[in-house]
């Protein structure tokens, strides 16, 4: 297989469906955003029902240089979050390490024709040739998607932004960096409110950082943030202006028998997601995904091993920096299945009801149209089946960090380095 020179800029860094699932946005390391739109299913062309095609591409962020601190600011898109649609236009927030931008995506499929003073190319007409007046009419044209930056929320963060989350009130959103969380109004760019600040007075005393945060899907006053120590804090904005004091602290005591040099690293939470119901939270750390009940702080209600066979390889994963990979996690629309990525272009799904799990691979060979994904298996010694992959032959450069699940249907988007895979479950299209 010929090796293709991989451009760093093409590596996908975030994937997000909009609220209806009609649009799918991806951001990459080069600061670009590509939006896919689902083709409407039609009886005429049953083969292409529900496929996603490119809808729009634009450059969201450019590399910048902070001269004061002599810091280069990467253009990599860290997160994209869609705003709920309120009119014909679509809006999304995209962020890099420092700056959040609100983009408005509009369609234009008609254009006025028949101006009196201008001709078709826009040149001014010779007035002497104008003999009568006409009313310009709108004529259909090829669809044009226009994207424009409506707001730029800059200078709100000293540290690297790791997450943004739109509030259910559709007016505010929050952005979180390593040590602080800010609350913004979507219409106001020149100020924001700091609602969480865990920066110690003396940076020497730093013990943990914020790794992810999200608003509750229904309660506009509640949000959660995760820390590098593996804890979750649920905060209520009604309690105080500065939510340093959490309302609830979700923490699982560490298992002392599993202690190692890298215990702190693998317990760091890389992603947190509320369930659609708002009752549960899903967290991902290096080796597991955990489901937490908002009503129980002492420990998660479910823990799923993603790739426990890596526990004995933490040393080499530390050397190669793989141990710092931040995997995301996702719920399906009915909160019955959770999904997360792994190495070797594998991704895993766990059915919470049946307790069954499956490992699938996102690769060109296994992704021919209408091909059924074959479950994969990693063997850890013992008897090995024919198609098993051994732990030692896993490719750790092929990692699936970003995955997304359609809000209503069994459609998933998997980002495998610079490739985007979209899988649909035609048989079980409806959620159960």
């Amino acid at each position: 297989m010929p090796s293709v020179l991989l451009s760093q800029a093409d590596i996908i860094s975030t994937v997000e469906f909009n609220h209806t699932g009609e649009l799918l946005a991806t951001g990459d390391k080069g600061g670009r955003v590509v939006i896919f739109q689902r083709e409407p299913e039609s009886k005429n062309a049953p083969h292409s029902q529900g496929e996603y095609d490119v809808y729009s591409t634009f450059q969201s962020h450019e590399p910048e240089f902070d001269y004061l601190k002599s810091l280069e600011i990467e253009e990599k898109i860290n997160k994209i979050k869609w705003l709920p649609q309120q009119n014909a236009a679509h809006s999304l927030l995209s962020t890099n390490d420092k700056t959040i931008k609100l983009w408005k995506i509009t369609e234009r499929d008609k254009r006025p024709e028949g101006y009196n003073l201008k001709d078709e190319e826009g040149k001014l007409k010779d007035l002497s040739t104008v003999t009568s007046l006409q009313v310009p009419v709108l004529k259909p044209m090829d669809l044009m998607v226009e994207v424009s930056p409506r707001r730029i929320f800059a200078n709100g963060h000293t540290y690297h932004i790791n997450s943004i989350s739109v509030n259910s009130d559709c007016e505010t959103y929050m952005s979180a960096d390593d040590l602080r969380i800010n609350l913004w109004h979507l219409a106001i760019t020149d100020r924001s409110f700091n609602i969480v600040d865990i920066k110690p007075a003396n940076m020497e005393d730093l013990t943990e950082v914020i790794t992810a945060s999200e608003f509750h899907p229904h309660h506009c006053n509640l949000f959660v943030y995760s820390s590098s120590k593996g804890s979750l804090r649920l905060c209520d904005m009604r309690a105080a202006a500065l939510c340093d004091k959490h309302s609830k602290l979700f923490e699982e005591p560490e298992d002392p028998s599993n202690r190692s040099f890298f215990s702190e690293i693998i317990s760091s939470v890389s992603d947190v997601k509320f369930s659609h119901s708002g009752r549960y939270m899903l967290t991902r750390d290096y080796l597991t995904v955990k489901v937490w009940d908002l009503n129980m702080e002492a420990r998660p209600i479910e823990t799923y091993q993603v790739h426990d066979y890596l526990r004995s390889k933490l040393c080499s994963l530390y050397e190669s920096d793989c141990i710092f990979d931040k995997f995301e996690c996702a719920w399906n629309g009915s909160d019955s299945v959770i999904m997360t990525g792994a190495y070797n272009n594998f991704f895993r799904m766990f059915d919470r009801n049946t307790k069954r799990d499956v490992t699938l691979e996102a690769s060109r060979e296994s992704s021919k149209p209408r091909a059924v994904l074959k479950p994969r298996r990693v063997c850890v010694g013992g008897k090995r089946r024919r198609d098993d992959i051994s732990v030692d032959s896993l490719d750790f450069t092929k990692k699936i960090l970003h995955t997304a699940w359609h809000p209503a249907e069994n459609i998933i988007a998997i980002a495998a380095t610079n490739n985007l895979y979209i899988f649909q479950d035609k048989v079980n299209s409806d959620m159960h």
Binding site: L68, K69, S70, L71, E72, I73, E74, K76, D97, T158, Y159, H160, N162, D178, L179, K199, N202, M203, E204, D205, L206, T207, E208, V209, T211, S228, P256, R259, S260, F261, F262, S263, E264, I265, S268, R311, S312, L314, C315, S316, Y318, E319, D321, F324
Partner: protein, 410 residues
């Protein structure tokens, strides 16, 4: 957990990661560096445990050779894997400490000093246990900073500008909140200089005075941990010296009138002053200006025949260090200086020899604590660090001046 790396390599790898993160695109990643500092701390804990284990083991061997068995009960075998460390921690290659001949000459002194170490280690373990039971938010970064700064602190020349060891914080200082860690800035220390100087005879220029602790000897270690030095201005800022373990000079007068041994509990450096010369046990103190330049003294001569590593870049690093300025090298006047006792490492990891020599260099760099990691120095001429750990250390040393001006500009 099977792990091909030992604590030494882990420390070296971690330091290299921290250093290279300074030149990575996008600025320093706070989260990643914080996690790496945790690994550093864990590796250091194991490293020190192994050191104590070796120290005791040698002492026991000497005991068995010279003394009747009834002495052995004084030195119980401790579990040197720190609680929570992987079970096979003890399987890591043990470290051998140099200066065998010396130890025999100072045997009665060494025995007492080992007893102090024993008490220290018990205290260590107790505190760790306390830590696990009551995970108070403690400064692991400071611990990591201590981890990296504590190791070669015994190296006389390297950190002589320190305002005593007041700058360093105990690794498990739940009740103690040490003051701001800026060991490379010879600024005003919160503690009055005489007290720290008495406890931390790191400055080779003041050997005799430094070795006189002001604490009453024989105080039980657990109570010491809870108390602050009486001379500190405010309890909240006390560095938490474990004064009780310091032997009074009078204890040694009986055995060896020309010797005084002190143990710095913060940095775990055992220092013996003998006849005006300074012997020091250095943790990973492969880099020491005196050792690199002076003729090998009695401490080294006996080690010369044994397994030890001479690091080719040693001289270069010493040159760099002199240029760096802040690192004081020899005492003024070039007084004859007994060389440091180097830690000898078993030859189980030959590839790590360049790393081992640079650990102490990088350690002294990162002794400036986490704030030093966070603030990035504008240095456009700084090239990306090569993979060779040795050159990495050279660059780190070259930019040492920049580190001392670290400003957390947030």
């Amino acid at each position: 957990m099977e792990c091909a790396l030992d604590a030494q390599s882990l420390i070296s790898i971690s330091l290299r990661k921290i250093h290279s993160s300074r030149t990575q695109r996008g600025g320093i990643k706070l989260h990643k560096n914080l996690l790496v500092s945790y690994v550093l701390r864990n590796a250091r804990q194991l490293y020190l445990s192994e050191r104590y284990a070796e120290l005791y083991r040698r002492q026991q061997q000497q005991q068995q050779q010279q003394q009747p068995p009834h002495h052995q009960h004084q030195h119980q075998h401790l579990a040197y894997a720190a609680p929570g460390m992987p079970a096979n921690a003890a399987d890591f290659g043990p470290l051998q400490l140099g200066g065998g001949g010396d130890a025999e000459a100072r045997e009665p002194v060494a025995r007492h000093q080992l007893h102090q170490l024993h008490q220290l280690h018990q205290l260590h373990l107790q505190q760790q246990l306390h830590q696990h039971q009551h995970p108070a938010p403690r400064s692991c970064v400071a611990a990591a900073a201590v981890a990296v700064a504590g190791a070669p602190a015994g190296c006389a020349g390297a950190l002589s500008e320190l305002p005593g060891c007041a700058a360093l914080q105990p690794p498990h200082g739940a009740p103690h909140r040490g003051q701001h860690l800026e060991p490379l800035q010879p600024g005003p220390a919160p503690l009055p200089p005489p007290a720290p100087a008495a406890l931390c005879p790191r400055d080779p220029r003041v050997p005799a005075a430094c070795s006189a602790p002001s604490a009453p000897p024989g105080a039980a270690p657990p109570t010491v941990a809870a108390s602050s030095p009486p001379s500190s201005p405010a309890p909240s800022s006390s560095p938490g010296f474990y004064r009780g373990a310091y032997p009074a000079p009078s204890d040694f007068g009986v055995h060896c009138s020309s010797q005084t041994t002190v143990l710095d509990l913060d940095t775990h450096v055992v220092t013996t002053v003998e006849n005006g010369y300074l012997h020091q046990d250095c943790c990973a103190s492969a880099h020491c200006p005196c050792c690199g330049q002076g003729a090998p003294g009695p401490g080294l001569a006996s080690a010369a025949g044994c397994k030890r590593k001479y690091y080719p870049g040693q001289e270069e690093e010493d040159d760099d260090e002199e240029d760096a300025g802040d690192l004081g090298a020899e005492p003024p006047g070039g007084a004859p200086f007994a060389p440091c006792k180097r830690a000898r490492f078993e030859d189980f990891c030959p590839d790590s020899s360049p790393d081992a020599s640079n650990i102490s260099n990088l350690i002294s760099i990162f002794g400036s604590g986490f704030s030093g990691l966070v603030s990035r120095q504008p240095d456009s001429s700084e090239q990306p660090p090569p993979l060779n750990g040795q050159l990495c250390a050279k660059q780190a040393l070259a930019s040492l001046g920049a580190w001392t001006r670290a400003i957390v500009a947030f």
